[in-house]
Protein backbone atom coordinates (compact mmCIF):
# COMPACT_ATOMS: atom_id res chain seq x y z
CA UNK A 1 0.00 0.00 0.00
CA UNK A 2 1.20 3.48 -0.87
CA UNK A 3 -0.05 5.92 1.78
CA UNK A 4 -0.32 8.69 -0.80
CA UNK A 5 -2.73 6.58 -2.88
CA UNK A 6 -5.37 6.35 -0.19
CA UNK A 7 -8.87 5.51 -1.41
CA UNK A 8 -11.10 7.75 0.71
CA UNK A 9 -14.27 6.14 -0.65
CA UNK A 10 -13.46 3.01 1.35
CA UNK A 11 -13.88 4.90 4.65
CA UNK A 12 -17.44 6.15 4.40
CA UNK A 13 -18.06 5.14 8.05
CA UNK A 14 -15.72 7.97 9.10
CA UNK A 15 -17.55 10.59 7.11
CA UNK A 16 -16.40 13.71 8.98
CA UNK A 17 -12.73 12.79 8.64
CA UNK A 18 -13.11 11.94 4.97
CA UNK A 19 -14.81 15.27 4.34
CA UNK A 20 -12.04 17.08 6.15
CA UNK A 21 -9.38 15.30 4.13
CA UNK A 22 -11.19 15.98 0.89
CA UNK A 23 -11.21 19.68 1.71
CA UNK A 24 -7.54 19.75 2.76
CA UNK A 25 -6.21 17.41 0.08
CA UNK A 26 -3.44 14.92 0.63
CA UNK A 27 -0.08 16.23 1.84
CA UNK A 28 2.35 17.09 -0.92
CA UNK A 29 5.94 18.33 -1.01
CA UNK A 30 4.48 21.83 -1.19
CA UNK A 31 2.40 21.47 1.99
CA UNK A 32 3.92 24.18 4.19
CA UNK A 33 4.83 22.09 7.22
CA UNK A 34 6.29 19.32 5.05
CA UNK A 35 8.08 21.61 2.63
CA UNK A 36 11.54 20.86 4.04
CA UNK A 37 10.94 17.31 5.20
CA UNK A 38 11.04 15.43 1.90
CA UNK A 39 7.67 13.75 2.20
CA UNK A 40 7.38 12.38 -1.34
CA UNK A 41 9.77 9.39 -1.29
CA UNK A 42 8.32 8.32 2.06
CA UNK A 43 4.63 8.47 1.14
CA UNK A 44 5.02 7.14 -2.39
CA UNK A 45 6.75 3.99 -1.25
CA UNK A 46 4.92 0.67 -1.22
CA UNK A 47 4.52 -0.78 2.29
CA UNK A 48 2.69 -3.72 3.80
CA UNK A 49 -0.28 -2.15 5.54
CA UNK A 50 -0.56 -3.59 9.05
CA UNK A 51 -3.38 -1.86 10.94
CA UNK A 52 -3.03 -2.82 14.61
CA UNK A 53 -5.91 -4.83 15.97
CA UNK A 54 -6.47 -4.81 19.75
CA UNK A 55 -5.34 -7.96 21.55
CA UNK A 56 -4.53 -9.36 24.99
CA UNK A 57 -2.83 -6.94 27.37
CA UNK A 58 -0.26 -8.24 29.83
CA UNK A 59 0.08 -6.57 33.22
CA UNK A 60 3.28 -4.55 33.65
CA UNK A 61 4.81 -1.50 35.19
CA UNK A 62 4.43 0.66 32.10
CA UNK A 63 2.30 1.06 29.02
CA UNK A 64 3.95 -0.77 26.17
CA UNK A 65 2.72 -0.33 22.64
CA UNK A 66 4.19 -2.69 20.09
CA UNK A 67 3.54 -1.77 16.47
CA UNK A 68 0.49 0.19 17.51
CA UNK A 69 -1.00 -2.51 19.73
CA UNK A 70 -1.12 -2.25 23.52
CA UNK A 71 0.94 -5.22 24.71
CA UNK A 72 1.37 -4.30 28.34
CA UNK A 73 -0.22 -1.90 30.80
CA UNK A 74 -0.12 -1.16 34.52
CA UNK A 75 -2.91 -2.70 36.54
CA UNK A 76 -5.81 -0.35 37.13
CA UNK A 77 -5.29 1.59 33.93
CA UNK A 78 -8.61 1.53 32.14
CA UNK A 79 -7.96 1.20 28.41
CA UNK A 80 -10.64 1.33 25.78
CA UNK A 81 -10.29 0.69 22.06
CA UNK A 82 -12.77 2.95 20.32
CA UNK A 83 -13.45 2.61 16.58
CA UNK A 84 -14.41 6.28 16.46
CA UNK A 85 -13.58 9.21 18.70
CA UNK A 86 -14.19 12.92 18.51
CA UNK A 87 -11.33 14.44 16.58
CA UNK A 88 -9.84 17.91 16.48
CA UNK A 89 -11.73 19.60 13.65
CA UNK A 90 -9.13 22.31 13.07
CA UNK A 91 -5.83 20.46 12.86
CA UNK A 92 -3.49 21.74 10.17
CA UNK A 93 -1.92 18.37 9.41
CA UNK A 94 -3.49 15.95 6.96
CA UNK A 95 -1.60 13.06 8.56
CA UNK A 96 -3.59 13.71 11.75
CA UNK A 97 -6.79 12.85 9.90
CA UNK A 98 -5.22 10.03 7.88
CA UNK A 99 -3.97 8.34 11.04
CA UNK A 100 -7.44 8.65 12.60
CA UNK A 101 -8.94 7.28 9.43
CA UNK A 102 -6.66 4.28 9.12
CA UNK A 103 -6.24 3.30 12.76
CA UNK A 104 -8.86 0.57 13.38
CA UNK A 105 -9.40 1.90 16.91
CA UNK A 106 -8.12 4.71 19.08
CA UNK A 107 -6.51 3.65 22.36
CA UNK A 108 -8.38 5.80 24.88
CA UNK A 109 -7.34 6.18 28.51
CA UNK A 110 -9.09 8.30 31.10
CA UNK A 111 -6.90 9.77 33.80
CA UNK A 112 -9.06 10.37 36.83
CA UNK A 113 -6.40 10.78 39.51
CA UNK A 114 -2.80 11.99 39.73
CA UNK A 115 -0.44 9.52 38.11
CA UNK A 116 2.82 8.96 36.29
CA UNK A 117 2.75 6.74 33.23
CA UNK A 118 5.87 5.53 31.42
CA UNK A 119 5.10 4.62 27.82
CA UNK A 120 7.34 2.59 25.54
CA UNK A 121 6.62 2.48 21.84
CA UNK A 122 8.20 -0.44 20.05
CA UNK A 123 8.55 -0.43 16.30
CA UNK A 124 9.48 -3.93 15.14
CA UNK A 125 7.97 -4.58 11.70
CA UNK A 126 10.03 -4.28 8.52
CA UNK A 127 8.59 -2.72 5.37
CA UNK A 128 5.34 -1.97 7.15
CA UNK A 129 2.93 0.95 7.26
CA UNK A 130 1.26 1.12 10.67
CA UNK A 131 -1.09 3.85 11.89
CA UNK A 132 -2.26 4.18 15.48
CA UNK A 133 -3.71 6.76 17.85
CA UNK A 134 -3.78 7.29 21.60
CA UNK A 135 -6.21 9.54 23.42
CA UNK A 136 -5.94 10.75 27.01
CA UNK A 137 -8.81 12.40 28.80
CA UNK A 138 -7.36 14.13 31.85
CA UNK A 139 -9.93 15.06 34.45
CA UNK A 140 -10.28 18.40 36.21
CA UNK A 141 -7.43 19.25 38.56
CA UNK A 142 -5.58 16.00 37.88
CA UNK A 143 -1.78 15.92 37.51
CA UNK A 144 -0.61 13.51 34.85
CA UNK A 145 3.02 12.82 33.90
CA UNK A 146 3.98 10.83 30.84
CA UNK A 147 7.50 9.68 30.12
CA UNK A 148 7.65 8.35 26.61
CA UNK A 149 10.48 6.45 24.98
CA UNK A 150 10.92 4.63 21.72
CA UNK A 151 12.59 1.42 20.70
CA UNK A 152 13.15 1.16 16.97
CA UNK A 153 14.36 -2.04 15.33
CA UNK A 154 12.14 -1.74 12.30
CA UNK A 155 13.60 -1.03 8.84
CA UNK A 156 11.97 0.33 5.74
CA UNK A 157 8.79 1.13 7.65
CA UNK A 158 6.45 4.06 8.09
CA UNK A 159 4.49 4.67 11.27
CA UNK A 160 1.78 7.25 11.83
CA UNK A 161 0.95 7.81 15.47
CA UNK A 162 -0.16 10.59 17.73
CA UNK A 163 -1.75 11.76 20.91
CA UNK A 164 -5.07 13.45 21.40
CA UNK A 165 -4.90 14.92 24.88
CA UNK A 166 -7.78 16.74 26.43
CA UNK A 167 -6.87 18.46 29.67
CA UNK A 168 -9.85 19.54 31.74
CA UNK A 169 -9.72 22.84 33.70
CA UNK A 170 -6.90 23.08 36.24
CA UNK A 171 -5.42 19.81 35.03
CA UNK A 172 -1.67 19.46 34.57
CA UNK A 173 0.02 17.31 31.96
CA UNK A 174 3.75 16.92 31.60
CA UNK A 175 4.92 14.90 28.62
CA UNK A 176 8.60 14.01 28.29
CA UNK A 177 9.39 12.34 25.00
CA UNK A 178 12.74 10.66 24.56
CA UNK A 179 12.61 9.81 20.87
CA UNK A 180 15.73 8.03 19.78
CA UNK A 181 15.41 6.65 16.29
CA UNK A 182 18.66 5.10 15.18
CA UNK A 183 17.62 3.31 11.99
CA UNK A 184 18.28 5.40 8.89
CA UNK A 185 15.56 3.76 6.78
CA UNK A 186 12.71 4.45 9.17
CA UNK A 187 10.05 7.15 9.10
CA UNK A 188 7.74 8.30 11.87
CA UNK A 189 5.03 10.91 11.64
CA UNK A 190 3.61 12.05 14.95
CA UNK A 191 0.52 14.18 14.68
CA UNK A 192 -0.79 15.44 17.98
CA UNK A 193 -3.73 17.47 19.21
CA UNK A 194 -3.77 18.92 22.70
CA UNK A 195 -6.58 20.94 24.17
CA UNK A 196 -5.59 22.73 27.35
CA UNK A 197 -8.61 23.71 29.44
CA UNK A 198 -9.15 26.80 31.54
CA UNK A 199 -6.27 27.32 34.00
CA UNK A 200 -4.76 24.02 32.92
CA UNK A 201 -1.10 23.40 32.13
CA UNK A 202 0.65 21.45 29.41
CA UNK A 203 4.41 21.03 29.66
CA UNK A 204 6.27 19.29 26.89
CA UNK A 205 9.87 18.16 26.59
CA UNK A 206 10.98 16.40 23.45
CA UNK A 207 14.40 14.94 22.70
CA UNK A 208 14.82 13.82 19.11
CA UNK A 209 18.06 12.05 18.41
CA UNK A 210 19.17 9.84 15.65
CA UNK A 211 19.52 9.08 12.00
CA UNK A 212 15.91 8.53 10.91
CA UNK A 213 13.20 10.66 9.31
CA UNK A 214 10.76 11.82 11.94
CA UNK A 215 8.40 14.74 12.18
CA UNK A 216 5.96 15.72 14.90
CA UNK A 217 3.11 18.12 14.25
CA UNK A 218 1.39 19.63 17.26
CA UNK A 219 -1.89 21.46 17.27
CA UNK A 220 -2.37 22.94 20.71
CA UNK A 221 -5.39 24.93 21.84
CA UNK A 222 -5.20 27.06 24.95
CA UNK A 223 -8.23 28.27 26.80
CA UNK A 224 -8.49 31.03 29.40
CA UNK A 225 -5.40 31.34 31.66
CA UNK A 226 -4.02 28.08 30.30
CA UNK A 227 -0.28 27.66 30.29
CA UNK A 228 1.92 25.85 27.80
CA UNK A 229 5.66 25.33 27.99
CA UNK A 230 7.39 23.44 25.20
CA UNK A 231 11.07 22.53 25.15
CA UNK A 232 12.64 20.73 22.25
CA UNK A 233 16.05 19.26 21.56
CA UNK A 234 17.04 17.96 18.15
CA UNK A 235 20.29 16.18 17.40
CA UNK A 236 20.34 15.05 13.79
CA UNK A 237 23.27 13.41 12.08
CA UNK A 238 24.13 11.60 8.85
CA UNK A 239 21.11 11.88 6.53
CA UNK A 240 18.56 12.35 9.34
CA UNK A 241 15.65 14.71 9.07
CA UNK A 242 14.13 15.50 12.44
CA UNK A 243 11.43 18.09 12.78
CA UNK A 244 8.81 19.63 14.98
CA UNK A 245 6.03 21.85 13.67
CA UNK A 246 3.33 23.60 15.67
CA UNK A 247 0.17 25.56 15.52
CA UNK A 248 -0.47 26.86 19.02
CA UNK A 249 -3.76 28.71 19.28
CA UNK A 250 -4.62 31.03 22.11
CA UNK A 251 -8.40 30.96 22.26
CA UNK A 252 -8.89 32.20 25.81
CA UNK A 253 -7.57 35.32 27.49
CA UNK A 254 -4.42 35.53 29.65
CA UNK A 255 -2.93 32.29 28.38
CA UNK A 256 0.82 31.75 28.21
CA UNK A 257 3.08 29.94 25.78
CA UNK A 258 6.83 29.58 26.10
CA UNK A 259 8.62 27.59 23.46
CA UNK A 260 12.31 26.77 23.14
CA UNK A 261 14.08 24.63 20.62
CA UNK A 262 17.78 23.80 20.80
CA UNK A 263 19.09 22.06 17.73
CA UNK A 264 22.41 20.40 16.98
CA UNK A 265 23.06 19.24 13.48
CA UNK A 266 25.91 17.17 12.19
CA UNK A 267 26.99 15.63 8.86
CA UNK A 268 24.09 16.21 6.45
CA UNK A 269 21.50 16.16 9.20
CA UNK A 270 18.49 18.42 8.82
CA UNK A 271 16.42 19.93 11.60
CA UNK A 272 13.06 21.62 11.32
CA UNK A 273 11.47 24.01 13.78
CA UNK A 274 8.33 25.50 12.29
CA UNK A 275 6.20 27.04 14.96
CA UNK A 276 3.19 29.27 14.52
CA UNK A 277 1.68 30.98 17.56
CA UNK A 278 -1.78 32.31 16.93
CA UNK A 279 -3.54 34.69 19.30
CA UNK A 280 -7.23 34.94 18.40
CA UNK A 281 -9.20 38.14 18.82
CA UNK A 282 -10.88 37.30 22.14
CA UNK A 283 -7.64 35.96 23.63
CA UNK A 284 -6.48 39.21 25.20
CA UNK A 285 -3.39 39.62 27.36
CA UNK A 286 -1.53 36.62 26.03
CA UNK A 287 2.15 36.07 26.81
CA UNK A 288 3.99 34.30 24.04
CA UNK A 289 7.68 33.67 23.54
CA UNK A 290 9.48 31.50 21.04
CA UNK A 291 13.15 30.86 20.57
CA UNK A 292 15.05 28.50 18.35
CA UNK A 293 18.82 28.19 18.58
CA UNK A 294 20.92 25.97 16.40
CA UNK A 295 24.50 24.81 16.30
CA UNK A 296 25.76 23.43 13.01
CA UNK A 297 28.71 21.14 13.67
CA UNK A 298 29.75 21.16 10.02
CA UNK A 299 28.90 22.88 6.76
CA UNK A 300 26.68 20.17 5.27
CA UNK A 301 24.16 20.34 8.11
CA UNK A 302 20.98 22.34 7.57
CA UNK A 303 18.39 23.93 9.82
CA UNK A 304 14.98 25.21 8.90
CA UNK A 305 13.84 27.54 11.64
CA UNK A 306 10.58 29.42 11.31
CA UNK A 307 9.28 30.98 14.50
CA UNK A 308 6.10 32.81 13.57
CA UNK A 309 3.33 34.70 15.29
CA UNK A 310 -0.12 35.81 14.19
CA UNK A 311 -1.77 38.17 16.64
CA UNK A 312 -5.35 39.27 16.09
CA UNK A 313 -5.80 41.39 19.20
CA UNK A 314 -4.43 44.77 20.21
CA UNK A 315 -4.08 43.69 23.81
CA UNK A 316 -1.06 41.53 24.36
CA UNK A 317 1.05 41.24 27.49
CA UNK A 318 4.23 39.93 25.93
CA UNK A 319 5.31 38.68 22.53
CA UNK A 320 8.83 37.82 21.46
CA UNK A 321 10.43 35.41 19.07
CA UNK A 322 13.89 34.76 17.79
CA UNK A 323 16.06 32.34 15.92
CA UNK A 324 19.82 31.93 15.71
CA UNK A 325 21.97 29.52 13.78
CA UNK A 326 25.73 29.29 14.07
CA UNK A 327 28.76 27.19 14.75
CA UNK A 328 30.38 26.39 18.08
CA UNK A 329 32.05 29.39 19.68
CA UNK A 330 35.66 29.12 18.48
CA UNK A 331 37.03 31.13 21.39
CA UNK A 332 35.25 28.94 23.92
CA UNK A 333 36.53 25.86 22.13
CA UNK A 334 40.07 27.20 22.21
CA UNK A 335 39.78 28.08 25.89
CA UNK A 336 38.89 24.48 26.75
CA UNK A 337 41.63 23.09 24.54
CA UNK A 338 44.17 25.40 26.16
CA UNK A 339 43.39 23.61 29.39
CA UNK A 340 44.33 20.27 27.85
CA UNK A 341 40.84 19.10 26.93
CA UNK A 342 40.84 17.22 23.60
CA UNK A 343 39.00 18.79 20.68
CA UNK A 344 36.15 16.28 20.51
CA UNK A 345 35.61 16.37 24.26
CA UNK A 346 35.68 20.17 24.22
CA UNK A 347 33.06 20.20 21.46
CA UNK A 348 30.88 17.83 23.45
CA UNK A 349 31.17 20.03 26.52
CA UNK A 350 30.04 23.04 24.53
CA UNK A 351 27.17 21.18 22.91
CA UNK A 352 25.92 19.93 26.25
CA UNK A 353 26.30 23.39 27.74
CA UNK A 354 24.12 24.65 24.89
CA UNK A 355 21.39 22.27 26.05
CA UNK A 356 21.82 23.03 29.72
CA UNK A 357 18.92 25.47 29.84
CA UNK A 358 16.54 22.72 28.74
CA UNK A 359 18.01 20.19 31.17
CA UNK A 360 17.75 22.69 34.00
CA UNK A 361 14.07 23.18 33.21
CA UNK A 362 13.57 19.43 32.95
CA UNK A 363 14.88 19.04 36.49
CA UNK A 364 15.39 15.31 36.04
CA UNK A 365 19.01 14.35 36.62
CA UNK A 366 18.43 10.73 35.65
CA UNK A 367 16.95 11.67 32.29
CA UNK A 368 19.70 14.21 31.79
CA UNK A 369 22.32 11.50 32.31
CA UNK A 370 20.42 9.17 29.98
CA UNK A 371 20.36 11.82 27.32
CA UNK A 372 24.07 12.57 27.67
CA UNK A 373 24.85 8.86 27.39
CA UNK A 374 22.70 8.62 24.27
CA UNK A 375 24.31 11.73 22.84
CA UNK A 376 27.79 10.35 23.47
CA UNK A 377 26.83 7.05 21.80
CA UNK A 378 25.53 8.93 18.80
CA UNK A 379 28.74 10.92 18.29
Amino acid sequence: MKPIALNLDAYSHKKAIVQKLRSMGMPTPKTEHYRYFGIKPILERDYTFLPPEPGAIEPGDHLEIVDGRVAQAPKGLYIEHLPQVRVDDSHYDQIYYISHLLAPATIQIEIEEDMELPITHKFTQNGAFIPYRIKFLVHEGVKFKIKEEMVVVSEGSLYFYGYDIQIAPKGEVRLVSNRVTNIEDFALFGSHSIEVGKEATFTLFTFDLGNAKTIHNYHTILHERASHEANHVIFAKRQARLGNTFHIEHRGKEATTTQRSRNILKDRGRGIFDGLLIVKNPAKFASITQSSKTILLNDGAYMVSKPQMEIYTEYITQASHGSTTGHLDEEALFYLRQRGIALEEAKEMLVLSFLEEIFTRLGDEELRREFIAIYEERQ
Binding site: Y335, Q338, R339, G340, I341, E345
Partner: protein
Protein backbone atom coordinates in the same frame (compact mmCIF):
# COMPACT_ATOMS: atom_id res chain seq x y z
CA UNK B 1 70.56 28.78 33.52
CA UNK B 2 68.57 26.26 31.53
CA UNK B 3 66.40 27.40 28.65
CA UNK B 4 62.85 26.12 28.76
CA UNK B 5 61.82 27.89 25.56
CA UNK B 6 63.74 29.24 22.60
CA UNK B 7 61.89 31.35 20.09
CA UNK B 8 63.84 31.70 16.86
CA UNK B 9 63.11 34.13 14.01
CA UNK B 10 59.38 33.79 14.60
CA UNK B 11 57.10 35.34 12.00
CA UNK B 12 53.36 35.07 12.46
CA UNK B 13 50.25 36.55 10.88
CA UNK B 14 46.62 36.99 11.80
CA UNK B 15 44.18 37.40 8.90
CA UNK B 16 47.12 37.59 6.51
CA UNK B 17 48.59 40.57 8.37
CA UNK B 18 52.09 39.94 9.65
CA UNK B 19 52.26 40.83 13.34
CA UNK B 20 55.39 39.03 14.51
CA UNK B 21 58.31 39.94 12.28
CA UNK B 22 61.21 37.88 13.53
CA UNK B 23 61.02 37.34 17.28
CA UNK B 24 64.13 35.93 18.92
CA UNK B 25 63.68 35.22 22.59
CA UNK B 26 65.14 32.85 25.17
CA UNK B 27 63.09 32.02 28.27
CA UNK B 28 64.72 30.34 31.23
CA UNK B 29 63.52 27.66 33.59
CA UNK B 30 62.37 29.01 36.94
CA UNK B 31 62.59 32.66 35.87
CA UNK B 32 60.04 35.43 35.50
CA UNK B 33 60.11 37.17 32.13
CA UNK B 34 58.16 40.39 31.72
CA UNK B 35 57.11 41.33 28.20
CA UNK B 36 56.28 44.99 27.68
CA UNK B 37 55.55 47.05 24.62
CA UNK B 38 53.20 49.61 23.14
CA UNK B 39 49.81 48.67 21.76
CA UNK B 40 50.17 46.68 18.55
CA UNK B 41 53.72 45.55 19.38
CA UNK B 42 52.68 41.89 19.10
CA UNK B 43 52.64 40.91 22.80
CA UNK B 44 49.29 39.13 22.72
CA UNK B 45 50.03 37.59 19.31
CA UNK B 46 53.23 36.19 20.77
CA UNK B 47 51.31 34.53 23.59
CA UNK B 48 48.65 33.24 21.17
CA UNK B 49 51.37 31.80 18.96
CA UNK B 50 52.98 29.97 21.86
CA UNK B 51 49.69 28.36 22.89
CA UNK B 52 48.63 27.52 19.32
CA UNK B 53 45.63 29.78 18.81
CA UNK B 54 43.97 28.83 15.49
CA UNK B 55 43.80 32.49 14.36
CA UNK B 56 47.58 32.66 14.20
CA UNK B 57 49.49 31.43 11.19
CA UNK B 58 53.19 30.89 11.74
CA UNK B 59 54.96 31.71 8.49
CA UNK B 60 58.56 31.30 9.58
CA UNK B 61 60.72 30.31 12.54
CA UNK B 62 60.30 27.92 15.42
CA UNK B 63 59.40 27.66 19.08
CA UNK B 64 61.47 25.10 20.91
CA UNK B 65 59.86 24.09 24.20
CA UNK B 66 61.91 21.68 26.30
CA UNK B 67 63.97 21.19 23.15
CA UNK B 68 61.03 20.25 20.92
CA UNK B 69 59.50 22.41 18.18
CA UNK B 70 55.86 22.90 19.13
CA UNK B 71 54.69 24.84 16.07
CA UNK B 72 52.71 21.92 14.65
CA UNK B 73 51.29 20.74 17.96
CA UNK B 74 47.58 21.10 18.76
CA UNK B 75 46.66 23.56 21.55
CA UNK B 76 45.66 20.73 23.90
CA UNK B 77 48.96 18.91 23.29
CA UNK B 78 50.89 22.02 24.23
CA UNK B 79 48.73 22.43 27.32
CA UNK B 80 49.34 18.83 28.36
CA UNK B 81 53.06 19.40 27.93
CA UNK B 82 52.77 22.10 30.58
CA UNK B 83 52.09 25.38 28.76
CA UNK B 84 49.34 27.41 30.41
CA UNK B 85 47.94 30.79 29.51
CA UNK B 86 45.92 32.95 31.87
CA UNK B 87 43.68 34.77 29.41
CA UNK B 88 43.32 38.52 29.23
CA UNK B 89 39.60 38.03 28.60
CA UNK B 90 38.54 34.61 29.92
CA UNK B 91 35.49 33.41 27.98
CA UNK B 92 32.18 32.81 29.68
CA UNK B 93 30.72 29.38 28.98
CA UNK B 94 27.19 29.08 30.35
CA UNK B 95 26.20 25.54 31.16
CA UNK B 96 29.73 24.23 31.72
CA UNK B 97 30.11 23.80 35.45
CA UNK B 98 33.34 25.29 36.79
CA UNK B 99 34.25 22.29 38.92
CA UNK B 100 33.37 19.78 36.18
CA UNK B 101 35.52 21.68 33.70
CA UNK B 102 38.47 21.86 36.08
CA UNK B 103 38.25 18.17 36.97
CA UNK B 104 38.09 17.25 33.27
CA UNK B 105 41.16 19.38 32.59
CA UNK B 106 43.07 18.00 35.56
CA UNK B 107 42.24 14.40 34.74
CA UNK B 108 43.28 14.95 31.11
CA UNK B 109 46.64 16.11 32.44
CA UNK B 110 46.90 13.24 34.91
CA UNK B 111 46.14 10.77 32.13
CA UNK B 112 48.88 12.38 30.04
CA UNK B 113 51.28 11.91 32.94
CA UNK B 114 50.23 8.29 33.41
CA UNK B 115 48.45 9.01 36.71
CA UNK B 116 45.01 7.68 37.71
CA UNK B 117 42.12 10.17 37.50
CA UNK B 118 40.90 11.91 40.64
CA UNK B 119 37.38 10.96 41.61
CA UNK B 120 34.79 13.64 42.40
CA UNK B 121 35.41 13.55 46.16
CA UNK B 122 39.21 13.71 45.85
CA UNK B 123 38.95 16.56 43.40
CA UNK B 124 36.50 18.47 45.56
CA UNK B 125 38.89 18.32 48.51
CA UNK B 126 41.71 19.69 46.35
CA UNK B 127 39.50 22.38 44.88
CA UNK B 128 38.20 23.55 48.24
CA UNK B 129 41.74 23.81 49.61
CA UNK B 130 42.84 25.91 46.64
CA UNK B 131 39.76 28.12 46.88
CA UNK B 132 40.56 28.77 50.51
CA UNK B 133 44.16 29.63 49.71
CA UNK B 134 43.03 32.14 47.10
CA UNK B 135 40.29 33.58 49.30
CA UNK B 136 37.64 32.61 46.76
CA UNK B 137 34.05 31.70 47.60
CA UNK B 138 33.05 28.03 47.52
CA UNK B 139 29.89 28.90 45.59
CA UNK B 140 31.98 29.21 42.43
CA UNK B 141 32.22 25.41 42.39
CA UNK B 142 28.60 25.27 41.30
CA UNK B 143 28.64 28.19 38.91
CA UNK B 144 29.08 28.04 35.16
CA UNK B 145 32.57 28.70 33.87
CA UNK B 146 33.25 32.43 34.23
CA UNK B 147 29.55 33.22 33.71
CA UNK B 148 28.57 36.38 35.54
CA UNK B 149 31.99 36.60 37.19
CA UNK B 150 33.34 40.07 37.86
CA UNK B 151 36.60 41.02 36.16
CA UNK B 152 38.53 40.22 39.33
CA UNK B 153 36.77 36.89 39.82
CA UNK B 154 37.60 35.87 36.26
CA UNK B 155 41.28 36.62 36.76
CA UNK B 156 41.32 34.78 40.07
CA UNK B 157 39.66 31.85 38.37
CA UNK B 158 42.50 31.78 35.88
CA UNK B 159 44.95 31.65 38.77
CA UNK B 160 42.91 28.90 40.40
CA UNK B 161 43.18 26.87 37.21
CA UNK B 162 46.92 27.49 37.14
CA UNK B 163 47.25 26.25 40.71
CA UNK B 164 45.22 23.12 40.02
CA UNK B 165 46.95 22.24 36.75
CA UNK B 166 50.48 23.07 37.98
CA UNK B 167 51.96 23.95 34.59
CA UNK B 168 55.68 24.33 33.87
CA UNK B 169 55.36 27.41 31.69
CA UNK B 170 52.83 30.09 32.54
CA UNK B 171 51.81 33.01 30.37
CA UNK B 172 49.95 35.76 32.20
CA UNK B 173 48.41 37.84 29.42
CA UNK B 174 47.63 41.24 30.94
CA UNK B 175 46.40 39.53 34.08
CA UNK B 176 46.57 42.93 35.79
CA UNK B 177 44.11 44.66 33.47
CA UNK B 178 40.89 45.57 35.22
CA UNK B 179 42.09 44.48 38.66
CA UNK B 180 41.87 46.67 41.74
CA UNK B 181 44.84 46.81 44.08
CA UNK B 182 43.53 44.11 46.43
CA UNK B 183 42.81 41.66 43.61
CA UNK B 184 46.15 42.43 41.99
CA UNK B 185 47.88 41.66 45.26
CA UNK B 186 46.00 38.36 45.64
CA UNK B 187 46.90 37.35 42.11
CA UNK B 188 50.53 38.36 42.62
CA UNK B 189 50.77 36.51 45.93
CA UNK B 190 49.46 33.36 44.25
CA UNK B 191 52.00 33.69 41.44
CA UNK B 192 54.86 34.30 43.87
CA UNK B 193 53.82 31.21 45.83
CA UNK B 194 54.12 29.19 42.65
CA UNK B 195 57.62 30.41 41.93
CA UNK B 196 59.53 27.30 42.86
CA UNK B 197 62.71 27.77 40.87
CA UNK B 198 61.45 25.36 38.18
CA UNK B 199 58.29 27.02 36.87
CA UNK B 200 58.70 29.78 34.30
CA UNK B 201 56.45 32.81 34.04
CA UNK B 202 55.97 35.11 31.09
CA UNK B 203 54.11 38.22 32.24
CA UNK B 204 52.65 40.42 29.53
CA UNK B 205 51.80 43.83 30.88
CA UNK B 206 51.50 47.51 30.13
CA UNK B 207 52.07 48.59 33.70
CA UNK B 208 54.81 48.56 36.28
CA UNK B 209 52.52 47.91 39.21
CA UNK B 210 52.34 44.13 38.82
CA UNK B 211 56.13 44.03 38.49
CA UNK B 212 56.40 45.67 41.92
CA UNK B 213 54.61 42.61 43.31
CA UNK B 214 56.10 39.95 41.03
CA UNK B 215 59.72 40.85 40.57
CA UNK B 216 60.90 39.88 37.09
CA UNK B 217 64.27 38.36 36.33
CA UNK B 218 64.16 39.65 32.77
CA UNK B 219 62.31 42.42 30.99
CA UNK B 220 61.86 42.25 27.23
CA UNK B 221 60.63 45.21 25.22
CA UNK B 222 58.62 44.36 22.11
CA UNK B 223 57.93 46.81 19.35
CA UNK B 224 56.65 46.31 15.83
CA UNK B 225 56.75 42.54 16.08
CA UNK B 226 60.36 42.25 17.28
CA UNK B 227 62.22 42.14 20.57
CA UNK B 228 63.83 45.55 20.82
CA UNK B 229 65.64 45.21 24.08
CA UNK B 230 66.24 42.69 26.86
CA UNK B 231 67.39 43.64 30.33
CA UNK B 232 66.31 43.88 33.93
CA UNK B 233 63.90 46.05 35.91
CA UNK B 234 65.95 49.12 34.92
CA UNK B 235 64.22 48.96 31.52
CA UNK B 236 60.91 49.52 33.26
CA UNK B 237 62.34 52.51 35.11
CA UNK B 238 63.49 54.02 31.82
CA UNK B 239 60.11 53.29 30.28
CA UNK B 240 58.32 55.01 33.15
CA UNK B 241 60.49 58.11 32.74
CA UNK B 242 60.52 58.51 29.00
CA UNK B 243 58.09 56.14 27.39
CA UNK B 244 58.85 53.75 24.53
CA UNK B 245 60.74 56.38 22.55
CA UNK B 246 63.69 55.76 24.85
CA UNK B 247 64.25 52.47 23.02
CA UNK B 248 64.29 54.11 19.61
CA UNK B 249 62.96 52.54 16.44
CA UNK B 250 63.22 48.85 15.70
Amino acid sequence: MKKIMEIKDLHASINNKEILKGIDLDLYEGKVHAIMGPNGAGKSTLSKTIVGHPDVEVTQGEILYKGKNIIDMEPEERALEGIFMAFQHPVEIPGVNNAYFLRTALNAKRKHLGLPPLNAAEFLRLLKAKLKELGMKEEMIHRSLNEGFSGGEKKLNEILQMEILEPDFVILDEIDSGLDIDALKRVSDAVNKMRDGKRTFMIITHYRKILDYIEPDFVHILKDGKVLKTGGIELVDALEREGYKVFGES
